[in-house]
Amino acid sequence: MKRRARHHGYVLVLALGLLVLASTLLVGVGRAAVKHALAAKEAQDELQRRWAVETTRAVLLPSVEQMLARQETLRKQPAGTWSGKVKLGSVTLDCLAADEQAKVNVNLMLERGKVSDVQTQLRQALAGTGIAAKVRLRPAEISARAAGAPVTRPTTVAATQATTAPAQGSVVAAISGFGQMFDQLPPAQLIAARNSPGSLLTCWGGGAINVQRASPAALRLALGSRLTPGEIMRLIEARDALWAQQSSAASKPASTAPAATQNAPASPVEQLLAAARIDPQAVANAVMVGSRCHSLWIVAKDGRREWHYLSIADESGATNGRTFVW
């Protein structure tokens, strides 16, 4: 009898062991199923995000100029950037469109000054933003010169621009991306604040700054080596006065447009410079009115990660358009 009782005990142990095995197997199967489901969801999200980004880029990038112009008409003041959200299905994208010629072209600054001097100017301009210390210019062509190597243009783009770029503000693209301006600066910081480097600096486009849209800070940085602070102030005042004049003219019937402009200089740039009493030679190739280079930042988020895309559309001939993916 004692033997039988002991035998019953081992049956219990066996049953417990089998239970443990069965539950472990079930847990394993469950985990594998969840893993596969997560992988499928991730692939679906990635495809949706990529498709949304491509669609948004294809629609918005060619229309940036119209979007900025419309914003200016509504606000009756210069608008160098436009920001908004685009929702496509379950994907929401933060978009930031900008006139790249309303920013300071670092390549043009490098044409007129040493790398160290330009670096100092940029650090001063970005003082207070917390990223001034991260400014580090690495112009590709100048590095080659410094190393004593034969000068080769960094890209095909640079090679073609010499012949195709307009005479106004044509520069060699020694700097072709933010990675050559800053040390390990996350893309979110490039566009984080109003006075962020992404809204002040550029390295694309013809080089000349669009005086009609540029911020006072951008104008001071771009023209600081060519004009006195007083002249820059007069230029900003003349620009603002022109804006006010255009706004009031737009609100009146066409027949009542100001007659004073009949005898004004032909081009808008000359008109502005004359109003500001600035010698056009002093800012030759450095200023313009209008823009042929625009950018579009697209930021996609999923709660855990952010994806940053920057696209450049350049009709100035300096570059053939660029894409940056972080």
Binding site: V20, S143, T156, G177, Q180, F324
Partner: protein, 182 residues
Amino acid sequence: MSRRGFTLIEMLVATVVAAVLTAGVLLVVSGMSRDRALLASTETTASPERIVEVLRRDIANAQAMASSRMGDSLLLIGNGGIDPVTLAGDGRMVRVTYRVVRSGTQSQLLREQRYLDDRTNPRPWRDLVARDVESLIVTSAGRELPVASDVIDGESLRNVPSKVLLRVKRSRETIDEELWVR
């Protein structure tokens, strides 16, 4: 007597044995899943999605490119720099070469990077993208990339087109992908 239940000792022994068994089985299973995860992580570099993702990033960030007719190399010049220490994208101007290296029956796809914006310190380094890659062919909108119009460091380059067709041949599969990069 014949109907008596389990003694306290039997119950305790059974519980202890069950606990030991559970711990043992869990240990073995977790060890197996850890090994599988480790194996998977080494294999992720070889998964088709991973290969396409790595190439997509570099081609999108490139300004100019050149592809060999033999399908054994792809040269990209642009701002697709990856910091060799942190492995995070740094946006610096680099020359990236994808090279199919064959040794005996083995072949692998390597990514080689060299900074172009600091010729005194180009920090060249290479990384294994995938094993078992026989060829890498990049064509532009169904056609082979046109012959070079510019030469950089002895290499013939073309601007990166808006659409790129990618074909990665492996012994077990061929990855065909259409990349919109502009």
